[in-house]
Symmetry: C2
Subunit: 153 residues, 2 copies
């Protein structure tokens, strides 16, 4: 069914372990999120479903992504535009920073960078969680720029 996606056979178990029913869309989306090296928007996921010839519905996909986030199987971050991006893995356990590449538009997780306790807020504020997002050039794009410059403008 999903010949073009490497199926990490435990997707089904993951879903079942969270008390959900195992469905076509959930399986495919979980695999896509695991495969994708960076965050994917709803639309990106839809495109990959189409590419893998998995029939799907817009609304069902939204609901599937919401469910994965609720269950801690994925996390959601804001993109450069006003669409959410989704990543495999829950957020709770990993309060990490993200990186928006201004060149390719990808959103990457920086697991090793955490806002933590570094900041002293003014009197009265009670922070519970911090969101840290860098903007700039990602390693891939950096390499490409390097190559282009090396090859002479």
């Amino acid at each position: 069914m999903s010949a073009t996606l490497h199926p990490p056979r435990n997707s089904a178990e993951l879903i079942a372990a969270h008390g959900g029913r195992i469905t076509r869309t959930r399986l495919a989306v979980l695999e896509i999120l695991q495969d994708g090296g960076h965050s994917l928007s709803h639309d990106d996921v839809a495109a990959r479903l189409s590419a893998a010839a998995v029939p799907h519905d817009r609304v069902t996909l939204y609901r599937t992504l919401d469910w994965l986030v609720e269950q801690g199987l994925a996390h959601r971050i804001k993109g450069p535009d006003r669409a959410w991006r989704f990543n495999f893995g829950g957020e709770k356990a990993a309060q990490h920073a993200h990186f928006h590449c201004d060149r390719c538009g990808h959103v990457l997780c920086l697991e090793s960078v955490r806002p933590d306790e570094r900041f002293a807020l003014p009197e009265g504020y009670r922070p519970e969680r911090a969101e840290l997002v860098f903007h700039g050039t990602c390693p891939d794009c950096g390499r490409q720029i390097g190559r282009n410059e090396a090859a002479g403008s």
Copy 2:
């Protein structure tokens, strides 16, 4: 014309100094942004324009806000939903953090808190700017909670 808004007479000069024409909407929006203690969405601004009986158009308001941001007279930050919030003052000069209150929904500027150079990113990343947003309870809401608890539930 704008009797309910304290008019900081220099709004007009600010606009003129940036080579823009002085118009009803620009004046009113600038004053609203200066008045508002926290970030305002497009819709918040529209509501205040209505309250002040300033006729306005949705699209013009979007364009006015964009223009203010372009000119460095305001800055734009992401809100908890997918609408932008606007604040008086340019971002360039002040790369500060923001605070989303989960209770009242307001977005506040933390001028004193800056991400700066505190973080070591993995090899290859070239950050140009960092966005730091805290979520939690703001001082106002914190005080209210305190009062309610003191008064006995």
